[in-house]
């Protein structure tokens, strides 16, 4: 685990406020009031987090190139920060909202691709990124009767976070948020491989977040103008099991969202496992890139 020099940071106060008093208030306040407060917090954060906004603008310029004007970049960076806050607020709303009410607010497309992939009977790996509607997509799968799990890290392991956040706050976060529709399995678990295999054998679903290097197997690839490490352990499983790989994107919040399942990826064959992994991670990274470029303000890791 990465160790931070700081025991405690200002961000810890914000996280504590979110996880304890705000979460408790959100369990009783009217949903409209929570949304309003979230929007307010989003605007405050967008105005104050100027360093993060600058980083986002720089990344957007590199990713989008000269085709985007400076004004558009400024607006996109503002939206990125608003969406980041809205997403956390929405996680609390999601725990209160009923299935019918939730599904009435969104649109799901490409479900036939996902169902076709399941018909193969070898399990499906839904490959996605950290988009604003990821939690909703997980909830949709859960409520629609598709058993699944996502792979997360027990500790944040973020070099920018304090020791307190990495060690305690982030694990508390994953315990109290995402109560419905998402059962996390930790990358550190020794039986991770067995659990993935078991789920695929049951023709179930495993959700892979491609944009975080949560794996013991990583490959670095060019991505949005930078070099980034990508998890590839799941591709080794695909090589062995023949499970289908379906890209998925969830955009929006519980008041308006879209979930899109794309056609199962036509994976390139290879005689050797390493070759298979290297060829196909390129395909998947390009898919993720195109998803982000379509809705950059909805990608949370920018």
């Amino acid at each position: 685990m990465t160790t931070s020099n700081r025991f405690f940071s200002i961000r810890d106060i914000g996280i504590f406020f979110y996880l304890v008093p705000f979460r408790m208030a959100a369990s009783v306040l009217p949903i409209g009031a929570i949304r309003f407060f979230g929007l307010l917090m989003g605007h405050v954060y967008s105005a104050l987090a100027y360093r993060r906004k600058r980083r986002i603008q720089q990344r957007l310029r590199t990713a989008l190139g000269n085709s985007t004007t400076n004004d558009e970049i400024m607006e996109l960076s503002r939206m990125c920060l608003l969406n980041a806050v809205a997403c956390h607020v929405d996680a609390l709303i999601l725990n209160r909202i009923g299935t019918q009410a939730l599904l009435a607010n969104g649109k799901v497309s490409g479900l036939e691709h996902f169902k076709n992939a399941l018909l193969k009977g070898k399990g499906v790996l839904l490959v996605t990124g950290h988009f604003t509607g990821l939690k909703i997509a997980c909830r949709f799968l859960h409520e629609s009767g598709y058993p699944h799990f996502g792979i997360v890290k027990r500790h944040a392991d973020d070099p920018g976070a304090s020791w307190l956040e990495n060690r305690y706050l982030s694990s508390y976060w994953s315990k109290v948020i995402d109560q419905k529709g998402r059962v996390p399995v930790f990358v550190e678990d020794k039986d991770l491989g067995l659990r993935i295999m078991k789920r695929l054998r049951e023709n179930g679903i495993v959700i892979i977040s491609l944009d975080v290097p949560f794996s013991q197997h990583l490959l670095t690839r060019p991505f949005l103008g930078y070099e980034q490490a990508f998890p590839v352990g799941f591709l080794r499983i695909v090589y062995s099991t023949g499970a289908a790989v379906v890209p998925m994107v969830g955009i929006g919040n519980s008041s308006a969202f879209t979930i899109c399942f794309e056609e199962a990826v036509n994976l390139r064959e290879a005689a050797r496992k390493d070759e298979f992994v290297a060829k196909n991670i390129d395909i998947l990274v390009r898919i993720l890139e195109s998803q982000i470029l379509k809705d950059p303000a909805h990608w949370l890791l920018i």
């Binding site: 020794k190 078991k198 023709n203 080794r236 062995s240």
Partner: protein
């Protein structure tokens, strides 16, 4: 074909060396008390071992049998595979046809 428990164990060790690309000789693998020690931090490796064993012995390991108890060490795995092989010849293992591989 009837395989003794030692034959099964030897073949599992061969599969391990081949599938996990281990740089150990069979004696060293036999001497390993826990399978975790062979995999190290690589929890995905077990999926390759499962597929390798299935191919080697032409058996299917159903989802309900994918447990830590069976894959904890060479002895438990060997016993399990032996049982599956016996079930294959007598057709007595429950759930054998329930797999969706």
């Amino acid at each position: 074909m009837h395989l003794s428990i030692e034959d099964v164990k030897d073949r599992i060790v061969e599969v391990m060396i081949r599938e996990l690309e281990l740089t150990l000789n069979p004696e060293e693998v036999h001497g390993t008390s826990r399978l975790d020690d062979l995999f190290g931090m690589d929890s995905i490796a077990i999926t390759e071992l499962i597929i390798g064993i299935e191919k080697e012995f032409t058996i299917k390991i159903p989802a309900e049998d994918l447990s830590v108890e069976i894959f904890q060490d060479l002895e438990t795995l060997t016993e399990y595979v032996k049982k599956r092989l016996h079930g294959k010849t007598t057709g007595s293992i429950e759930g054998q046809d329930k797999t969706q591989c």
